[in-house]
């Protein structure tokens, strides 16, 4: 039995995720879309906190909300023509997209409801991993430890850095 506060918080967070997601993809002004994305990302971070993943929430805010959205904003400002920052969408296309995403929603939602029983579990009262455990898991090579993916990611990031430089560099 959750506390009323947490229920209210959940409702607010869930609503903001839904609303801002919808807004982010429906608004015509691209800069606004980026802003709504930011709100969605924040809301997601809150969900992480609610699930006791503090570290993950922090990463979400730092990397996504702090880093990526800023990148978006810069990119938007660099690429948009003045007064040309809205796009018109063919209504047929929008309807088709809506149908597709609604179909996806129903199918996925249907399958969720079909597994209703299995998913109707409350949050188990188990401690989430602390920083120490996360660090150990990242740096080890044993079972349940992730040094190899960690290194892979680092190489990937390096590649991205180089790629970014090469792509964006002026000739």
């Amino acid at each position: 039995m959750d506390s009323v506060g947490s229920i209210i918080l959940f409702v607010i967070v869930a609503l903001s995720i839904v609303v801002f997601s919808i807004l982010a993809v429906t608004t015509r002004k691209i800069l606004r879309a980026a802003t709504y994305l930011l709100f969605t990302l924040f809301a997601t971070a809150v969900v992480y906190f609610m699930l006791d993943y503090q570290f993950l929430g922090a990463v979400q805010i730092a990397v996504y909300a702090g880093g990526i959205v800023v990148l978006f904003v810069f990119a938007i400002l660099l690429t948009s023509h003045p007064g040309h920052n809205s796009e018109k969408l063919a209504s047929k296309r929008r309807v088709l997209g809506l149908i597709a995403s609604l179909a996806m929603l129903f199918i996925a939602g249907g399958s969720l409801l079909a597994r209703c029983g299995a998913l109707s579990v409350t949050k188990p009262d188990v401690a989430t991993p602390d920083m120490n455990q996360i660090g150990t898991a990242m740096m080890g090579v044993g079972e349940g430890q992730y040094l190899l993916p960690f290194e892979a990611i680092s190489v990937l990031l390096l590649a991205c850095i180089i790629g970014g430089i090469v792509v964006a560099r002026k000739r």
Binding site: A100, M104, I107, S111, A114
Partner: protein, 669 residues
């Protein structure tokens, strides 16, 4: 006799060919010519020695105690082994006819070598281009022809058969700058090649049934009680025979396989010996230098067909029908060629048709030869005629060459009245004409008389027919003689020399050959050459009736020719106008060339080759190209799906995912 001499006889001309072919162009012209002639002289001496030893030494390997001449294999080297019993070997086979041929070939070849030293240069002593090459080719030809006649097995004969064909091709096309010479050489080769196809298939059939190529095995006397050819020693051809004997008598399309084999082999002989309908190459072959015509297309190579039939004569005797075919083909060809020869203008063409006709005589003689008629007199007559004909026809050709050399044209219309200017040529040519016409005592009389009496003992029809042809022969030869040497001579344009006799290198062969033509008839030929090796005294059976008839026919024909052609008069034109179509047809050789042209050019070349080439390019290749085009088109069709639009791909992906998801859910429900 040691096998060294036969080896040298074959190897020396081959060596001369390679030597002159490779180094000839580095030598001075006379050196090359002299070397070639010298080499051939040595070969001639050795051949004479061999023939003399064979006929007269009385050595036990050559003659049996009963006086029967034996076949002797001097050496035999396996050259290519097909199966245990079938193998080609290269060897030296000595029997009466091959010994005789050795003499004929080397004599005529030596004369031609000598003659060409003078012929192959112009009046200023400048040698023809390719003089050395000419001698190289002559050596090659001599080698091939010698190899052909001394073949120990039928495949060796085929090998050299092809080689003489090629030498003939090279020599006919000696003046390769002249398109007519090139096409004549091509024609000669292809026509004989076509005939050789028959020869080859005949060999294949024969060797399959007998299990051997070897002449001694093939022509040994049949074993009693066995029909057909499969008389060969069972030990040597066991496997094949057992397959064969388990089947009923081998008959294919109404004729026995032996007939088929022999007729096909005879087809090869028809090609080489220019029998109708494969004769068309020989008149054109006169494009070659005249000494070549004398050697190859009169004396030696063209009688290879006769020689082939003679070689396989015991086999032919087993199949009456094959011999009948030989007779019929020979008789028709003899008459046809004689008729055509009466109307030709080019003197070499006249001689060419006369050659065809005379070879046909030999064929007929073989065709009518039967052991029951005077011990196969026809066989002996044929060989005798081969011998005498080689001499007098070579003489005639060399004489014609002297005329052409002097006048510079092949046309008798350009000649006329040369008897005063060229006495040696005139007298030798006359001897040749008398010999071929069959006037006693020249050699042609004896051999032709034998042939006619052989025909007579076989069938009256053939006898009358051949006598008619003999008359025609005398007629056209004297027509030629008068047109060349009589009539009113042409005005000699100012600044030109009158035609004159030739240098000694050319005269000497003429004189020698004329001398041989005079006396050769008295050689007791039957004692040397007969079908089974037993000596046969022709003179003891001499038929004066036949002889006087043939002499009378010849004299009558000569008289007719004298009346018509001794002086320029209106008689020939009257004859011509009386039978305009016959004359025209004969003059145009009864349109054989046109017929062949139509078949090869219109039907085979245009109808088959072009059609096939079109089919290949458009249907076969078109199908392959169509595969490529279909692939290309198909890729064009599906290419738009790779639009490069990432949203398009997402759409496709989403639709697919939704379908899969929907299906999954439906299944789960």
């Amino acid at each position: 006799m040691s096998p060294v001499i036969p080896v040298i006889i074959l190897a020396l001309p081959l060596f001369m060919f390679i030597f002159l072919g490779l180094c000839g162009s580095k030598m001075k012209h006379p050196v090359a010519g002299f070397l070639g002639t010298l080499g051939l002289g040595v070969v001639m001496v050795l051949s004479y020695y061999t023939a003399f030893t064979y006929f007269f030494s009385g050595a036990p390997e050559f003659i049996s105690a009963a006086g029967e001449r034996l076949q002797c294999v001097m050496f035999d080297q396996t050259w290519l082994q097909f199966t245990d019993t079938l193998y080609i070997s290269l060897g030296f086979f000595l029997d009466p006819i091959s010994a005789m041929m050795l003499v004929v070939i080397t004599t005529v070849s030596f004369m031609v070598h000598l003659y060409s030293l003078g012929y192959m240069r112009d009046h200023h002593g400048v040698y023809e281009i390719g003089f050395q090459r000419f001698y190289a080719f002559l050596s090659l030809f001599t080698f091939s022809m010698l190899g052909l006649v001394v073949a120990t097995n039928i495949f060796q004969m085929y090998i050299f058969w092809e080689l003489v064909g090629v030498s003939s091709y090279l020599l006919i096309g000696f003046y390769y700058r002249k398109p007519s010479a090139v096409s004549a050489s091509k024609k000669a080769f292809i026509v004989t090649r076509f005939a050789d196809l028959g020869f080859l298939i005949g060999i294949l059939i024969l060797s399959f049934y007998t299990g051997t190529f070897d002449f001694t095995l093939l022509t040994s006397a049949p074993v009693e009680g066995m029909s057909g050819v499969y008389h060969v020693d069972i030990n040597t051809a066991e496997g094949i025979l057992s397959t064969f004997t388990s089947h009923p008598a081998p008959v294919f399309m109404g004729a026995s396989v032996l007939t088929w084999a022999l007729v096909l082999i005879f087809m090869g002989g028809m090609g080489k010996s220019a029998m109708m309908p494969l004769h068309i190459w020989l008149p054109d072959a006169m494009e070659g230098p005249t000494p070549v015509s004398a050697l190859i297309h009169a004396a030696t190579m063209v009688v290879a067909g006769v020689y082939l039939v003679a070689r396989l004569f015991p086999l032919f005797l087993m199949e009456e029908s094959a011999l009948v075919i030989v007779t019929v083909v020979g008789a028709l060809t003899a008459f046809y060629a004689a008729v055509v020869a009466c109307t030709q203008i080019d003197i070499k063409r006249v001689l060419a048709f006369s050659t065809i006709s005379q070879i046909a005589f030999m064929m007929v003689a073989l065709g009518v030869a039967r052991p029951e008629h005077h011990e196969s007199l026809g066989y002996m007559a044929s060989m005798f005629h081969l011998f005498t004909h080689a001499m007098f026809k070579a003489l005639l050709f060399l004489g014609a060459g002297a005329l052409i050399h002097a006048i510079g044209s092949n046309d008798y219309t350009a000649m006329h009245g040369l008897r005063k200017h060229m006495p040696i040529t005139h007298w030798t040519f006359l001897i040749g004409c008398l010999a071929i016409a069959g006037i006693i005592p020249f050699s042609g009389f004896f051999s032709k008389d034998e042939i006619l009496s052989a025909c007579g003992s076989y069938s009256t029809l053939v006898y009358i027919w051949m006598s008619l042809v003999a008359g025609l022969t005398a007629f056209y030869m004297f027509r030629l003689y008068y047109l060349i040497f009589w009539w009113k001579e042409h005005e000699i344009p100012a600044g030109h020399h009158a035609p004159h006799d030739q240098p000694w290198t050319m005269s000497l062969p003429l004189i020698i050959l004329a001398a041989i033509s005079c006396v050769a008839g008295f050689i007791p030929f039957g004692k040397l050459v007969s079908w089974n090796g037993e000596p046969y005294d022709f003179m003891a059976h001499f038929d004066w009736g036949v002889a006087s008839v043939s002499l009378a026919v010849a004299v009558a024909a000569i008289a007719l020719a004298t009346v018509m052609y001794r002086k320029e008069n209106a008689l020939p034109a009257k004859f011509k106008n009386a039978l305009p179509n016959l004359w025209k047809w004969a003059h145009l050789r009864f349109y054989w060339d046109e017929l062949y042209m139509f078949i090869t050019h219109k039907i085979i070349f245009n109808g088959v080759c072009r059609a096939l080439a079109w089919f290949d390019r458009h249907i076969i290749d078109g199908t392959m190209d169509a595969f490529a085009a279909i692939t290309h088109k198909a890729s064009d069709v599906i290419k738009p799906m790779q639009s490069g639009q990432v949203q398009m791909y997402t759409w496709l992906y989403v639709i697919g995912a939704l379908l899969l998801g929907g299906i999954t859910i439906l299944c789960l429900m």
